[in-house]
């Protein structure tokens, strides 16, 4: 009786999510993946070409460049945002005025639209009237001045600070709520044992929120592999593909060069690569856990 009731509950409970998600996410994705096997301009007749779009992707230097840039973004997010957010979460756990101000300030970029963020950072990096070069001049570091966004060798790295800056608030919030959830008894116990400071952080707090960190890593990887807006607004993937990302390349192929099939093949590749990366990261963390 009880088992039957819970079975019914499981089915009715899962149904709405499964229906909405399947219909509006999964069906379109399969549909789009299907176009990946066609040579189609997005209009009119489509010609079935088998795997030739994928073969072209493998030979396409722009695709590999975009993938490399995406990997840079993933690494920067995972090893930049997460440690920074963790550190800030630990530091800002009290609720005095200064800490509350700092928390809000750090979160604020999250609520601004990417258009605004892109605009302001373009002016920070502006080669003639930019704040950054102005500051370097003022500090007597004129030789450090660079063409931040237009030098193909460094442009992708110049995009990392705005990227980290705009999302660190999100992870800060996630970590803070996780830290808040560590039951008071554990803190008390630590106090009695005389564990505090760095040791407490490393040996008690971090393991307690390990799950959350894993969640954040997955969010980070999936987020940075899909990232589109910031780059599209700040550099359009240029100069000469130097900051091209998989998503911007896909968008260009689909909507400006009339190569819908090719664009679909790229987006399917993005998903495959993300799955591999996330799978690997899960496997890595779980393996370590087993070893411990």
């Amino acid at each position: 009786m009880n088992a039957l009731r819970s079975k019914r509950f499981i089915i009715t409970g899962l149904l709405p999510a499964l229906v909405i998600y399947s219909l509006f996410v999964f069906v379109p994705v399969i549909w789009s993946a299907y176009y990946g096997f066609f040579n189609w301009s997005g209009i009119g007749e489509a010609k079935y070409t088998g795997l030739s779009n994928y073969a072209e992707i493998l030979r396409d230097p722009v695709f590999w460049r975009a993938l490399k840039n995406n990997v840079v973004f993933v690494l920067a997010s995972v090893f930049g945002q997460i440690p920074l957010a963790l550190a800030l979460a630990v530091l800002l756990h009290k609720s005095n005025l200064l800490q509350r101000f700092l928390r809000s300030a750090i979160f604020l970029p999250m609520v601004l639209s990417t258009v605004v963020i892109g605009m302001i950072w373009q002016y920070i990096y502006h080669p003639q009237i930019g704040i950054l070069n102005f500051l370097l001049d003022a500090l007597g570091l004129s030789s450090w001045k660079l063409q931040w966004l237009s030098d193909g060798k460094i442009a992708i790295y110049s995009l990392i600070p705005p990227l980290i800056w705009s999302y660190v608030g999100l992870y800060l919030i996630i970590f803070m709520s996780a830290l808040q959830n560590i039951p008071g008894e554990i803190h008390d116990a630590a106090k009695i044992d005389g564990v505090s400071g760095v040791r407490k952080l490393l040996s008690i707090s971090l393991p307690m929120i390990k799950n959350t960190v894993q969640v954040a890593v997955v969010l980070c990887i999936s987020g940075s592999l899909k990232s589109f807006d910031l780059v599209y607004i700040m550099t359009k993937g240029g100069p000469a593909h130097a900051t091209e990302l998989l998503a911007t390349y896909m968008y260009n192929s689909t909507f400006s060069t009339y190569r819908y099939g090719f664009g679909s093949a790229i987006s399917t590749s993005i998903m495959i690569i993300s799955l591999l990366l996330i799978g690997t990261s899960q496997w890595l963390t779980n393996r370590k856990k087993d070893a411990a």
């Binding site: 040579n39 209009i43 502006h126 080669p127 931040w148 966004l149 237009s150 100069p239 909507f255 009339y258």
Partner: protein
């Protein structure tokens, strides 16, 4: 804690309730129940507060007042948004009745997808209208001998806007030859003035506003058209490599300010408006922006000329790259009374009156009408007079396949960053060869 949940829940209930209402009165198959008011839809990009957008919206308003029997449902979107939306609805075969459409690539794709209907009948019925377009104006809208639209403006893409005060101050001659351009660049650089402001982040800018003309000066138009068809000319030919090299040398001379590949068109004009740059190379469309936003000390000293001649080049000297402007696409699905209504609006916008209204809003047209010089801004009069003297040669992105255009645009960015001209020429050639082979 429970309070906020209940607040949120009630807000959502309200939202969903309203959403339900919104969904109810959905107007799909717009007014085909004969005899009733005829409804037509038009999508456009006249959303701004600039003179042209205002003028075009006014035509629609006037049309509504004049034709109470026709309901015009118009929707304005920013240019990029309009293009993305059109691509999407084209894939689903759901075109609006009329929409702003670009010549060449877009027109061809839409015709290939069987989304448009030709307007030959209407044009032939009104020869005064048809014959008054400037030569070749309808080419970009003609596919297999059928005409699908007419241009509502003209977009010469390559003028030098220069700040005469700076030229006088440093005693520089406004360049008419490539050598004089070199001298001018040198002098301005020596005096800490940016010779030419360039904002090539949206990578079509260098191609459309500058390189297309340089290319034409060196290779000549015939060569270019042959290379486009891949018929007796290739982009790896020495003349094209020379065009690339010439353009690259301009970059090496520091003709453009640092970091030009990361600035957008707005920031490029900003450098010019601030008086930091002596010249800016831009299309005829930049004039409205200049007149509206440049401070008087810059605006009053601004004049317009064309890209200097290049000795030894095969192209004609008095030319500028350009393309006819946007037209209106007419959906294939329009028939009967709705088609009639749509064509009335089409004529109001692109016919003689519409062309005149466009010209009066400081926008060049591909149509023969006199400008009322007493009413126009002096700089626009200057532009208008200049365009009467020069011939328009095809801008690269109007003739090349859209995938090749991407390669050219990125190649020019690479070129100006020190890429090798031969390699870039090869990539362009490969892309265009593939595009031609695919057709």
């Amino acid at each position: 804690m429970k309070k906020w949940i209940s607040i949120l829940c009630s807000a959502a209930m309200l939202a969903l309730l309203l959403a339900g209402c919104g969904g109810g009165n959905e107007a799909s198959g717009s007014g085909e129940n004969g005899g009733e008011k005829v409804s037509i839809s038009i999508w456009h990009n006249w959303t701004g507060q600039d003179a042209k957008a205002v003028a075009m919206r006014k035509i629609i308003e006037d049309f509504r007042a004049e034709h109470p029997e026709i309901e015009v449902v118009d929707e304005g979107l920013p240019t990029d948004g309009l293009k993305t939306r059109l691509r999407t609805v084209a894939a689903a075969d759901e075109m609006p009745d009329l929409f702003v459409m670009w010549p060449d690539a877009m027109t061809k794709e839409f015709v290939k997808g069987d989304l448009l209907q030709p307007i030959n009948e209407e044009l032939d019925a009104n020869p005064d209208w048809k014959n008054n377009f400037i030569p070749n104006a309808l080419d970009g809208y003609t596919v297999d001998g059928k005409i699908y639209s007419v241009p509502m403006n003209l977009a010469p893409s390559s003028f030098i806007y220069y700040n005469d005060a700076l030229f006088k101050k440093y005693n520089v001659k406004v360049p008419e030859t490539w050598e004089e351009l070199g001298t001018a660049i040198q002098t301005f650089n020596d005096n800490g003035v940016i010779p030419i402001a360039l904002g090539n982040k949206a990578n079509w800018v260098a191609q459309s506003t500058f390189f297309s003309t340089v290319g034409d000066r060196i290779t000549g138009t015939d060569w270019f058209l042959k290379a486009v068809e891949q018929d007796g000319a290739k982009f790896t030919d020495p003349e094209f490599v020379e065009a690339l090299t010439t353009f690259q040398k301009l970059g090496e001379l520091k003709a453009f300010q640092d970091g030009f590949n990361s600035l957008d068109e707005t920031q490029m004009m900003q450098l010019y408006f601030q008086g930091n740059a002596a010249m800016v190379v831009n299309g005829g469309w930049a004039l409205a922006n200049l007149v509206n936003n440049a401070p008087p000390e810059v605006l009053d000293n601004t004049h317009i000329t064309i890209v200097p001649t290049i000795a030894g080049g095969k192209g004609a000297p008095d030319t500028t790259a350009g393309v006819v402007g946007t037209g209106l696409g007419v959906s294939k699905k329009l028939t009967g009374a709705r088609k009639e209504a749509a064509m009335k609006l089409f004529y109001a916008m692109a016919g003689p009156d519409g062309q005149k209204a466009t010209l009066d809003s400081s926008t060049l047209v591909s149509y023969n009408i006199e400008l009322d010089k007493s009413k126009a801004h002096p700089l626009f009069v200057e532009l208008y007079d200049l365009i009467q003297r020069v011939k328009i040669v095809p801008v690269y992105d109007s003739k090349l396949g859209s995938a090749t255009v991407e390669v050219v645009n990125n190649g020019l960015q690479e070129l100006l960053m020190g890429g090798k001209a031969e390699d870039i020429a090869r990539k362009i050639q490969d892309a265009q060869a593939a595009a031609v082979a695919a057709n």
